[in-house]
Amino acid sequence: MDAADIEIIELCKKGDPNAQRKIYARYSPLMFAVALRYTNARPDAEDVLQESWIKVFRHIKSFSEHNSFEGWLRRIVVNTAITHYRRNQKHQFQLEISEVHATPNDFEAFKDLDFTKEELAQAIERLPKGYGMVFKMYVIDGFKHKEIAEQLGIDLNTSKSQLSRARKYLQDVLESMSRRANEEH
């Protein structure tokens, strides 16, 4: 975080509207991308973004400049998206740990990750909701299993098992996509 950022954040803490506009313009594209990743549709992502910014400005006084502002924003968006998702779907994330299949330690099938970003996004979107949520939180947004368990209201081991399942599922999806692409050529 550079000095300009720190200055803007300090002004936001004092409720300066210009500083709030500046910080919004700077970080909104990043936050909207995160919101889109965790919601089913664009209107939902817009709701999540709006709710997140209101939370940010209301709680910005509690933000310490020693932490990453971007990381803090990211967490707020993800938490808001989860709350939004729960409110709308009443989805339960509980799965039996005993059902977890063995996870391969390596992804031998992928000597190189020759998939485009869009293809990867499609593959991730095809993950079952529970798996997808844990996978995105852990792999993309850097949450720890403890945080995921707290946010989703699940057991720590369930979070770990869901991640393993997600990886396995994603591996299968990517393999089938790769096979299909080879057949077409």
């Binding site: 409720g15 509207p17 909104s28 594209p29 909207f32 990743r37 817009e46 973004l49 709006q50 990886r167």
Partner: protein, 190 residues
């Protein structure tokens, strides 16, 4: 490819994702913020107005309706010191009066629970609905008389107590002609 490498590659693909949000979201955010700020400000003003109103009302009541300053009002009465011996004539005086006084009960309790040197802090209250001033004058006279009998002392004399330290110190004992027991303290007398 290892699992960690796979995770890192995925993370790298999505970590720096940016998508511009529609403009109406920004307007909605700042509209909500301004409404909430205005609500907070109005609430603050309302609270200030309420406080100022109550303070003014209380001040106005104090100025326009001063409370009567007499002994019939217990809240205005000055607490005085009474000793239990001085309370005896009051009891006698009050016997026969229809209105039983709270101070009587207080004096009775003080007779039972306190010894002669103790004093009680009592609030004189009206004992007669017909003529409270007569009793007040009598009470005040007795209070003055009691105060005159009170002796003010700055400190209480304490008798000196002889220290046992010297008595407990081992003396030089002479068991036989030439044998002395130690430890001992030798005192030389001139």
């Amino acid at each position: 490819m290892k699992q960690e490498e796979f995770d890192q590659l995925i993370q790298a693909q999505f970590a720096n994702d940016v998508v511009n949000p529609p403009a109406h979201v920004e307007e909605a955010v700042f509209h909500t913020l301004s409404v909430s700020t205005r609500k907070t400000k109005y609430f603050g003003w309302f609270i200030s107005l309420v406080v100022v109103g109550f303070t003014s009302l209380a001040a106005w009541q104090l100025v326009n309706h001063p409370e009567p300053d007499d002994a019939t009002n217990p809240s205005n009465a000055v607490p005085v010191l009474l000793d239990n011996t001085a309370s005896v004539p009051i009891e006698g005086e009050l016997k026969g009066q229809s209105n039983e006084d709270a101070s009587l009960g207080l004096n009775e309790r003080s007779n039972e629970a306190m010894d002669e040197t103790e004093f009680i802090l009592a609030v004189p209250q009206s004992t007669s609905k017909e003529d409270p001033s007569a009793l007040t004058e009598g009470v005040q006279g007795r209070i003055l008389a009691t105060e005159s009998t009170l002796e003010t002392i700055s400190s209480r004399p304490v008798e000196a107590i002889e220290s046992n330290e010297l008595k407990n110190e081992p003396e030089l004992e002479k068991e036989h002609e030439e044998t002395w027991t130690l430890p001992a303290k030798v005192k030389v007398k001139h």
